[in-house]
Every structure is written in structure tokens, then in C-alpha cells.
Symmetry: C2
DNA sequence: GTAATTCTGGTAATTAAATGCTCAAATGTA
DNA sequence: TACATTTGAGCATTTAATTACCAGAATTAC
């Protein structure tokens, strides 16, 4: 069984984590996020760090510290979060990146670009506040 | 820049390679396939071996040997080839495979299963003879 | 001020994919 | 028959991405 589509664990943590944080008044720490997303605290820590640097979260060290939202939930789209972690989504026709294609016409025509665009539009339409 | 979608080089070699073979009367050897797909002969050899075992190609060793189609070009769909290499495509709702989801509703709803199905249908509709 | 808690950031380990290597087996040709 | 060519198959190496770990710095609570 193979997946055509897969989300990296990092991207999953970013999206799920920020929603969990948004649902809390007081902030949420790494350990709780890890527990609730069934992932390792180490990985969560790394992902959260990136969201802090990117300006989506603020962090608070020390006892009763943790992360909380810096922006409004309705102003954070899944697309932004996804692209912080994965990089800007590339809409390309060919899923391979060979300098030369032996074919006049890409055998994937536009199916991959169409689907990628569809996915991107979906991500853009979803914001954190929709999941509170 | 990130890709939402990517094809493994192995799958690419399978699809492109079989079309190149189908275009030849006399068969095509590993080296020529590797040249025309800008890939390594080692990788091509491995992929072709799998297509031989799966019954799509016949191989001929020795001088002027190479690979040729075993089935009719119109009877070979991209889906079959893809699944020989990658395994059967899984249509799942969630792109993550966690035993427990902390959310009532998957944040990816049906977007990924819809897109995967779309891709699968595309592959099923394409046959080798369309590219001769 | 001491200790416990929590994030930070650099580094290490793991994994999967791709690539490379080598020898064996088969086949055509001189 | 001898030799060059080509696939077959297993194993080793390399590479990139992901994931995990650990020591250190900041902060709060007591």
C-alpha cells in the first residue's frame, strides 16, 4: 500500500499543534502537545521553535511556560503554516525535476499541477479559528 | 520550494522506460534507457527487472539484447505500472497514520482522499499506446 | 537564592531512497 | 570454442530528509 500524498510529521505537528494551542487560554507546553498529537516532545519542540521564529507563536520559558498564539486565529491559514515548515508550494507540471525530458509532452500533463493547486487552495481556505 | 506531490525516480523510470521500449521495434537496453531518461543504468536495471518479473516486459540477454513489451501497449495502464513499483495506492482520509487523532474531525477532511482518487483515475485512464 | 520547569539550539542517529559495484548467467557472433 | 555483450541479483555506499537527543539559558515559584 502506498500513499500518493503524505504530510510530513513536522507539518502535521505544526497544524495540529497550533490548533491545540489556540484552544487553550493559558498556553500549552511541549509535553502536552506531544501527548495530544502522539508525537515525540523533541520533534514538537523543533517545530514550535520554527513557528515562534516565523511569528505565529510566542513562547514563555520556565514553570507554567509554553506557547501561545501571537496572531489571531482567524488570520492564520493552513497554507501559511504549511509553507513555514515545508517551504513555498511549487506548482509544477512534472513531478520529476530532470533537466531534460525525453518526451515532447509530459506524461503527467497537468494532472499534478491541477491537484497541487487544488490542495493549495484548500489550505488557503482553512484557518485556525475554524477548528476552535 | 516544496512539492506536494512527487513521483519516485523508480516510478518515473518505469513509466518513461516502458514507453521508450514500446516505441522501439527491436528492444532497448539498459544503457539507452538510462541515457534517455537521464538516470543511472543501475537504477534502470533494477526497475526493469521488476517489470519483467511482473510480466510487462521480456528481457533478452547477450549482444543486441534488451527489453521489449510482453503485453500490448493498449493493455498497459499507468496505474498498473505505478502500483508494481510503489504498491497499491491507498485511498485514505488522513495523510498521517496515527492510531489516535486528537480531533473529532480530520483537519484534512476529504481533500486528500479526493485528490488521491483523482490521481488514481488519471493513471487508470492513461495507457502506454497513448504515447507511441 | 535555590531549585524545578521549560524553551533554545546545536549535534547525532535513524531511515529511506538512490546509486554504485561486482560477479554470475545467458546469448549472439566470429 | 572463445569472446564480447547484456541482463540478473545481491550487497555496499552515498545522500538527503527526518527524527531524536542533550547540554545550556531563561524564567517562575517557593
Amino acid at each position: 500500500m502506498s500513499k500518493v500524498f503524505s504530510l510530513s510529521e513536522a507539518a502535521s505537528i505544526a497544524l495540529h499543534g497550533i490548533i491545540l494551542i489556540a484552544r487553550e487560554k493559558e498556553g500549552l507546553n511541549v509535553i502536552k502537545i506531544a501527548e495530544r498529537t502522539s508525537t515525540s516532545k523533541h520533534h514538537v519542540a523543533k517545530v514550535m521553535q520554527r513557528l515562534v521564529k516565523a511569528g505565529y507563536l510566542t513562547s514563555q520559558r520556565g514553570p507554567s511556560g509554553g506557547f501561545s498564539l501571537k496572531k489571531k486565529a482567524e488570520d492564520i491559514s493552513f497554507l501559511e503554516l504549511y509553507e513555514v515548515i515545508e517551504g513555498v508550494i511549487e506548482i509544477s507540471t512534472c513531478p520529476m525535476d530532470k533537466p531534460i525530458c525525453p518526451f515532447d509532452k509530459c506524461i503527467f500533463k497537468n494532472v499534478t499541477s491541477k491537484m497541487t493547486l487544488e490542495f493549495k487552495n484548500y489550505l488557503q481556505g482553512q484557518t485556525v479559528d475554524m477548528y476552535l
